[in-house]
Symmetry: C2
Subunit: 289 residues, 2 copies
């Protein structure tokens, strides 16, 4: 018997992800706070529900993809939330990027109701969501991972079970640290070239083939050189993720000096109205010095 899938949160990421599941032929029920966002799914043959609770009642595996920790809490445990409708033996797969600690608590709460949980945040942006080529970082039990894997494979390519509940969110936090600090690395290097009167394009070209090579140098380096910050991944969202990183580190009494520094640069460009720009726009914060 084929499992029925639910999808809650049809934002920039969730909408194409849910569409990929539906187009792969699965039965899909969806919910979104703003009803109009569900139209594309309805047109593709998905059933549109009135609440997260109804999604949970009608399906076996419930994907959630919302903005932040409080949103996941509300969708799962609020009035007419998933927990109120979920059957024993069903699975909640949270693909939002939220706090690892809260994720562990959510998983424990669902477990008491006989519901398994995976945290499965993604990387790869809207382009990756549409193409079905997202990186998916998963936390949870192996047997639950194996049960959900065929559906992950319709949404992503590089799918890794990182560890137990919360480990997917930890990997995503690490991902955001590496990207943010590498943006700073490339930004400082290109500023140095610029101030020395040397063509940054040639520097990027010289560095790409060697040990300094990275996806960030390739893609964001280009954005900086062209002064073109169409997102991509918005600075305000990267900042939200860095908030999760720094909160988590603070609770562990772990200093992350470079991650903290880049977050300050992000705050700077957001304050200047750059929150909707790609997060590589922190180059503008470096340049103004």
């Amino acid at each position: 018997m084929q499992e029925k899938l639910g999808f809650i949160g049809l934002g920039i990421m969730g909408l194409p992800m849910a569409l990929n599941l539906r187009r792969a032929g699965f039965t899909v029920a969806v919910y979104n706070r703003t009803r109009e966002r569900a139209q594309a799914l309805k047109d593709a043959g998905a059933f549109v529900c009135q609440s997260p609770k109804e999604v949970a009642e009608k399906t076996d595996i419930i994907f959630t993809c919302v903005s932040d920790t409080p949103d996941v809490n509300e969708v799962l445990f609020g009035k007419d939330g998933v927990a109120a409708g979920a059957k024993k033996g069903s699975v909640v797969v949270d693909m939002s990027t939220i706090s690892p600690e809260s994720t562990k608590r959510f998983a424990a709460n669902l477990k008491m109701a006989g519901v398994d949980m995976l945290d499965a945040p993604v990387s790869g942006g809207e382009t990756g969501a549409i193409a079905g080529t997202l990186s998916i970082m998963v936390g949870g039990k192996e047997e639950v991972f194996n049960r959900v894997l065929p559906y992950f494979q319709k949404m992503g390519k590089n799918i890794v079970l990182v560890g137990d509940n919360g480990a997917g969110q930890v990997a995503k936090a690490c991902n955001q640290v590496v990207i943010a600090v590498t943006i700073e690395a490339v930004g400082e290097a290109l500023m140095l070239a610029e101030k020395c009167g040397v063509d940054g394009r040639k520097v990027r070209e010289a560095l790409l083939g060697g040990f300094a090579g990275s996806k960030v140098l390739e893609v964001h380096g280009n954005r900086m050189l062209n002064d073109d910050y169409k997102p991509g991944f918005k600075a305000k969202l990267h900042r939200k993720d860095m908030g999760i990183v720094l909160d988590t580190a603070k609770n562990l009494q772990l200093p992350l000096p470079a991650a903290t520094l880049v977050t300050l640069h992000m705050d700077e460009i957001i304050k200047q109205g750059g929150g909707e720009l790609d997060s590589s726009a922190i180059f503008k914060a470096l340049r103004k010095n």
Copy 2:
């Protein structure tokens, strides 16, 4: 008529680079302060000279690969230096990593004697030097670059004319900034994973395929996870290069906060006796917190 090549400085990098030139069939004359280092070249059929001046007298294109700015100054303009022997129309190609500003001065001084100069620092380490797969970042005139290119191609793969004299050194400085700060990026991420009790190997695996992917994550990430810091590129040499970076930036009144931060971490592990370790050992400075 084939041009005769000179090579001064047969260290960890210079020795295999000079050997690659000789083995490609070119006439090569060499000089090294410590005479024994020249034996391998002698065995391969190179002529061993008594001074940089003698190398310059006997050859048309003189490569130098020594430790730091004062060493290049001494080799070029000291007693029995290259400038004392170089013929009009010959070329000095400095493959050391030194100050961009001093490089411009050296080039101007040589120019007055009718000698052209290229700065051509490399990246890729001893492995790349032996294999002839170095990245070579070149500063100087295009016609001089074209004249030397056939010889560069015996030593490296990714060979880019970045700009005028000094631009190769600027690119190398940028290269060292990107690598240093990306090491910090990967180090902070792996520390976060470790403190969260999550397997760093799985995090590295999850991140490698996506936007956080880089050579540093691949190679140095592995070094950090295995706590194995056999160089590679020694921390004390990376620190020397960061000194060039920070001096250059200071003269331009350009703040490079993350590059400065990583340099402090380097100082820390060098103070603890880690100067001979690979520069990714700054992970040890993060871990001790």
